[in-house]
């Protein structure tokens, strides 16, 4: 499988390029995803193998985890033909994807979706800098953007880590190199210095 990451940039939706044959269908999904799985079963989207294989438990082992396998690139495209249909299609794809995840992937995915900055702390931070009160929507927007920011840094840092032939957990040097790269791509605000074009 190609290397890719879950960036989740579009929140609920997102076009997901799925592998032609979903692998690892032998584990028991969690109760909360049971409904999703049933939905997929009914529509016959997945080809299941004959009988479940007993879980070896090795895939959940961090030591043997291949970094590339659990990440998929989620790309967003602007679509015109019937937004409702597109949303439903994307939701269907997400369900298919989720139902073919390993337990470890499910764990990580759940944390990925649920993790968020505490609103009160973020509000305090913004108001301290702004010197005035800000609306709740602003706090929500800023928290959302900050989370995307963290995702971009971590993704880049994981790239750096892999490139340097090292393994997670990430170290500060990976983070700093990631920031350096993102900054040169213009994805990090803050440099008040004008770029010197001709010297």
């Amino acid at each position: 499988p190609g290397k890719g990451r879950v960036t989740g940039v579009s929140g609920e939706g997102g076009v997901v390029p799925l592998d032609p044959s979903p692998s690892c269908l032998d584990r028991i999904p969690r109760d909360r995803f049971e409904e999703l799985r049933k939905a997929c079963d009914e529509e016959g989207e997945l080809r299941r193998q004959d009988g479940p294989r007993p879980r070896a438990g090795e895939e959940a082992d961090s030591s043997s985890r291949p970094p590339a396998a659990k990440r998929r690139k989620v790309a967003t495209k602007g679509k015109r033909p019937g937004k409702q249909a597109v949303d439903e299609l994307e939701a269907q794809k997400m369900r298919t994807l989720v139902s073919s995840m390993s337990q470890e992937q499910l764990d990580r995915y759940e944390v990925y979706r649920r993790s968020a900055f505490p609103k009160a702390t973020m509000k305090r931070l913004i108001q301290t800098v702004a010197g005035s009160t800000v609306s709740q929507n602003t706090v929500i927007a800023m928290s959302g953007v900050a989370k995307v920011f963290v995702g971009q840094v971590v993704e880049e840092a994981l790239d750096v880590c892999e490139k340097w032939g090292e393994t997670p957990p990430l170290q500060p040097k990976h983070m700093r190199e990631a920031v350096r790269r993102l900054r040169s791509k213009g994805q990090i605000p803050g440099s008040k210095h004008k770029k010197i074009l001709f010297f």
Partner: protein, 125 residues
Amino acid sequence: MADEEDPTFEEENEEIGGGAEGGQGKRKRLFSKELRCMVYGFGDDQNPYTESVDVLEDLVIEFVTEMTHKAMSIGRQGRVQVEDIIFLTRKDPGKFARVKDLFTMNEELKRARKAFDEANYDYGS
């Protein structure tokens, strides 16, 4: 400088709006718990290094600070609004998409709530 010998003394908001650098200040950690979860969700190890999380926290605070300052200088001056954030992230597809999504969802919710309220009003409740 901040006194670290007394851990029970809360140093809230100290130097939060501080300089543009990574800021290895002695400020209290604001997002440690949440960031640890977040980096795991994004692909790091389940037990990330504290130092790495600290670096990230400084980055986030710097990011939010920068965004806030910029937002105050555009649109309605001195205020930070969602429209400002949308404008500021326009060149970054990842961030822009997320903000647009949140904003659109919010508008939908407002519309739905309004329709709901009007329906209730019609029934005289």
